[in-house]
Symmetry: C2
Subunit: 185 residues, 2 copies
């Protein structure tokens, strides 16, 4: 089971501020799914909001629009192959959690599950914006709870003890960058 500590809502944008790739988990009416999403960003501090891009053809899009909820999970380098796997097949006819041996844990405020092995989690409630969703595949949501693995994010700061625990940034074609060295300007 992943270790998790609550992140104060006003600090939750810090989980996403440096631009890591995410896994988005969703659930509705007994079905659940998980997909990889590189296009996400914070949208506001308080109340915290996020913006994510999810193709209209994605099964996750159906579950999210039906339930009004999702979780933005932030994977570590150790999960990079899972990120690629869940990004390469549709969950419409398969349970990707069992297919790719991904564990889950119940979220606190939404029905979508937290994905085990990730290092940060943002529980999100969709703010319905039909025009953005239909025209741009752009979903806006309020962050209603946030969690992080205290081994890598504590007191509002990322600090990666090992290479495998670093967050990752997606490039294309199966290539990633790890999050690199911290520095102050």
């Amino acid at each position: 089971m992943s270790v998790r500590q609550a992140v104060p809502l006003e600090k939750s944008y810090l989980l996403l501020n440096h631009g890591p790739v995410t896994l988005i988990s969703s659930a509705h009416a007994g079905k659940q799914n998980v997909m990889a999403v590189a296009w996400s960003m914070p949208l506001d501090f308080a109340p915290p909001k996020v913006a994510v891009v999810i193709a209209s053809t994605a099964y996750s899009r159906e579950l999210i629009e039906a339930s009004g909820e999702f979780v933005l999970n932030i994977p570590s380098k150790a999960m990079a192959s899972s990120v690629l796997s869940v990004g390469s097949v549709s969950g419409r006819n398969t349970d990707k959690f069992s297919q790719f041996s991904l564990g889950t844990h119940p979220a606190a405020k939404v029905g979508a599950p937290l994905v085990e092995g990730c290092v940060g989690w943002l529980e999100c409630r969709l703010i319905p914006e039909a025009h953005n969703q239909q025209r741009y595949d752009l979903l806006i949501a309020e962050v209603v709870a946030a969690w992080a693995d205290p081994q890598v994010f504590i007191d509002g700061r990322w600090s990666f003890p090992t290479e495998e625990m670093k967050t990752i940034h997606y490039v294309a074609g199966g290539s990633f960058f790890t999050t690199g060295s911290p520095f102050d300007a």
Copy 2:
């Protein structure tokens, strides 16, 4: 003068895909400005679009909404102190380019300038969306031209020859991460 090579529009999202911090430059009616923006993401492949968050109180917001144009400049680590500097003062009553010794070069398709010393540039034309701008400070734009320094981005791939040429990711309070090691999953 920065070295620049055109990036095909369909590959321009790769400049932004890994979530680097950006400088946004703008110009209107003889005034120009530059600000730091961490909240940006690609929004579409073809035609390429981006989404960025710019506070309604920012002087850049006025210039962008009046001109309908901006440039997303991607700075390297060598420019991190400039990123902080331009992010710490308003350009309403000062020319940040001269105050912080930032050079510029004319863009190809928009009136906003390219910021010298950056390693990637996305020339953007605003897609007016009053509701998003007013409610979320969210601006959506089409990428109409893109450029990169061929020392660090060539044939659609980032490859950083030195630490100082790496792109950077903003955390908070003057702290950044460099873009880390590339790997394939």
